[in-house]
Symmetry: C2
Subunit: 308 residues, 2 copies
C-alpha cells in the first residue's frame, strides 16, 4: 500500500477526529496537520494528539500534504477550497467527508488546480455527537465509504484513497454523485429530517408536558431524539445542498404516511398488518448484512448501570 | 409489602416473560400460571421456567390467582376478559400491559364481575423483539409504568399493584386513560408509525436498490428499522384502538414536516438551524432524566465484535 505521508484535516470534528484515531490505530506514520475555525477546537485537537500541528488557516495546514480531507459542513466547502487551492502540493489528492456529493463536486472542483486529484468521499457512519472529543478509532469499522471520483484523478490515485479508507476499517464502494445523493436522501437525510420533525412536534404539543415526553421517552421516541441531536449546522447544510433528492424522498414519505393514516381512520387492519410485516423483513436483512446486531436495544439500558 | 401469592399471565410474550423474570429476580415467591394462544409458546414458557404451570385456556390459568395480567394485543382484550370473567377469584386484581388505555378500559371493564379490582397499566418499555424468549429481568428497571385505576379498585388495591411494579424495578405514575392515550400517541405510537412509513418508503424506491438501503443503513435509517421491526399484530391493534390520538399527533407532524420541507425548498437556513438546535435540547433533558445514556450509539457497534 502506497501510504500518504502527510494528511491535512480541514475541520476537526467527529469525523476528522475519528480519522486521526483510526490512522494511528492502523499504524500509519503520516504527519497529520489540521485546521479548525475556532481556537478552542484547534487547541483541543492538539492537546488530544489528533494532529501533530494545527494552523490558524486552512491554507497553512495543507502545505506539503499529499492528502487533504475537507471535513467541514457542506456549506463551507467552496470557501475552504478557494482558500487552499493556491497552496496545494502538486500531485496531492483532495477529498472530503461531506454528506452530499453533487453540491460538493460543484462547490470544490472549479477552485482546484489541474495538478491535483479530486476524489470526493462520504463515510456512511457517524453519531449524534460533534466536536473533536467525540471521535473514536472504530467509527468506520465495517461501515461503507462511498467515493465519487472525478476525471481529475487517475485509477491509481483513486485506489490509493480507497486503500486508505480500507486501512481505517471501512468498506469502499464507488458511485455517481447524483445517485449517491438519492441514496443518502433515503437512508440518511430524510430519516434525519423526520426525526427532527417528530421531536419538534413532541416539544410543541401543549396538551402533553415536556416532563411527560422526557420521562416516557423509552417507548420509541427516545431513538428519534438521538438522531435529532445531530449537529444543527452540518444538517442545515445537508438539506440546503441536497434539496431535490430530500424533497423527492419526503414527497414519497408523505404519500405513504397518508395511506397509513387512511388505513387507521378506516380501520383497515389487514393493510396495517401487511405493511408492518414487510418492514420487519428489511430489519432482518440489515442484521444479516452485518450493519446492526440483533441485541434488543431500546428499553434495555439501565443508566445507573450503564454510567458506571 | 402485601405480595401477590398467585399471578396469572395471559399472553406469554416479551412483556409477560420479563415480568416473570423480574418477579423471580425480586425474590417473589408467587405461583405463576400462564396461558398463550399457541402450543409452541406455552411449551417454551414452561420450559424456560417463566411459569409454574401453563393452561390451554385463559379461564383455567386465572383460577385462584390474586393478580391477573392481560398481556395480549389490545384487540384480543375483550374476548379474553369475557372468557376469564366467570373464573376470577373474588378480590382479585385484574390488570393489563396494553399500550392503549381508553380502549382497554372500554373492552375489559364491562365483562368483569363486581368483586374484582380493575387497574389498567402500561409499562413504557419494550424492545423490537417478541415471544417469550425475548424477555429479560431488567426490562422495567428505571422505566415508567402508567396506571389508570378505575372506580372498581380501592386505594389499597391500587397501591398493592404499584408496589408490585416498583419491586420489578419500575417507576409508577397515575394518569387518566384519555391523557395516557395522547401521551402514548406522541412518544410511542406516532414515532412507530413514522418509522414504519420511512422503512416502507426505502423498501419501495425503485431507483435505490435494497442492497444499497441495507448496506448504508448505519447513516440514520438503521434506527428506524429497529422500531419498525416491532410486532405487527400488537402495533396494528395499537393504531386501530388509539385512532384519535394517533391521527391528531400525525396531523401536527405533517404540518411541521411541511414547514420544514418549505424551508428546504426556499433555502431558509436560519429556520432549519433554529429548529435543529431546539430538538438538540430535548435530547439533553432525556439524558438528564436518566432515560438514556450519552454514549454515542449509532455507527459504533462493530457486529463482528458485538456478536462474540
Amino acid at each position: 500500500m502506497n501510504e500518504y505521508k502527510h494528511v491535512a484535516l480541514i475541520g476537526l470534528g467527529l469525523i476528522a477526529g475519528s480519522i486521526s484515531l483510526a490512522m494511528r490505530r492502523a499504524g500509519m506514520g503520516a504527519r497529520i496537520t489540521g485546521h479548525a475555525r475556532t481556537a478552542r477546537t484547534r487547541a483541543k485537537a492538539l492537546e488530544m494528539g489528533l494532529v501533530d500541528a494545527v494552523f490558524d488557516s486552512a491554507a497553512e495546514a495543507v502545505k506539503g500534504a499529499d492528502l487533504v480531507i475537507l471535513a467541514v459542513p457542506v456549506g463551507a466547502m467552496s470557501a475552504v477550497a478557494a482558500e487552499i487551492a493556491p497552496h496545494l502540493a502538486a500531485g496531492a489528492t483532495i477529498s472530503d467527508v461531506g454528506s452530499v456529493k453533487g453540491a460538493v463536486v460543484a462547490a470544490v472542483g472549479p477552485h482546484l488546480p489541474d495538478n491535483v486529484a479530486f476524489v470526493p468521499a462520504h463515510p456512511m457512519a457517524g453519531t449524534e455527537q460533534s466536536g473533536p472529543e467525540s471521535g473514536f478509532a472504530s467509527l468506520f469499522d465495517h461501515r461503507w465509504v462511498l467515493l465519487t471520483p472525478t476525471g481529475s484523478a487517475s485509477d491509481a490515485e483513486v485506489q490509493r484513497l480507497s486503500d486508505f479508507w480500507a486501512a481505517l476499517g471501512a468498506l469502499v464502494e464507488y458511485m455517481e454523485p447524483d445517485h449517491h445523493d438519492l441514496v443518502a436522501g433515503v437512508i440518511s437525510h430524510a430519516p434525519h429530517l423526520i426525526a427532527y420533525t417528530m421531536v419538534g412536534v413532541a416539544d410543541d404539543l401543549t396538551k402533553v408536558t415536556k416532563t411527560e415526553v422526557v420521562n416516557y421517552s423509552a417507548a420509541g421516541f427516545r431513538d428519534f431524539t438521538r438522531i435529532a441531536a445531530s449537529d444543527p449546522t452540518m444538517w442545515r447544510d445537508v438539506f440546503l445542498h441536497n434539496k431535490d433528492a430530500t424533497l423527492e424522498v419526503l414527497g414519497r414519505f408523505t404519500e405513504e404516511l397518508f395511506a397509513l393514516q387512511r388505513a387507521i381512520r378506516m380501520g383497515d387492519g389487514d393493510f396495517l398488518h401487511d405493511y408492518f410485516s414487510r418492514t420487519r423483513d428489511i430489519r432482518r436483512s440489515i442484521i444479516d448484512a452485518g450493519q446492526d446486531t440483533d441485541a434488543p436495544d431500546f428499553g434495555r439500558v439501565n443508566p445507573q448501570e450503564g454510567d458506571t
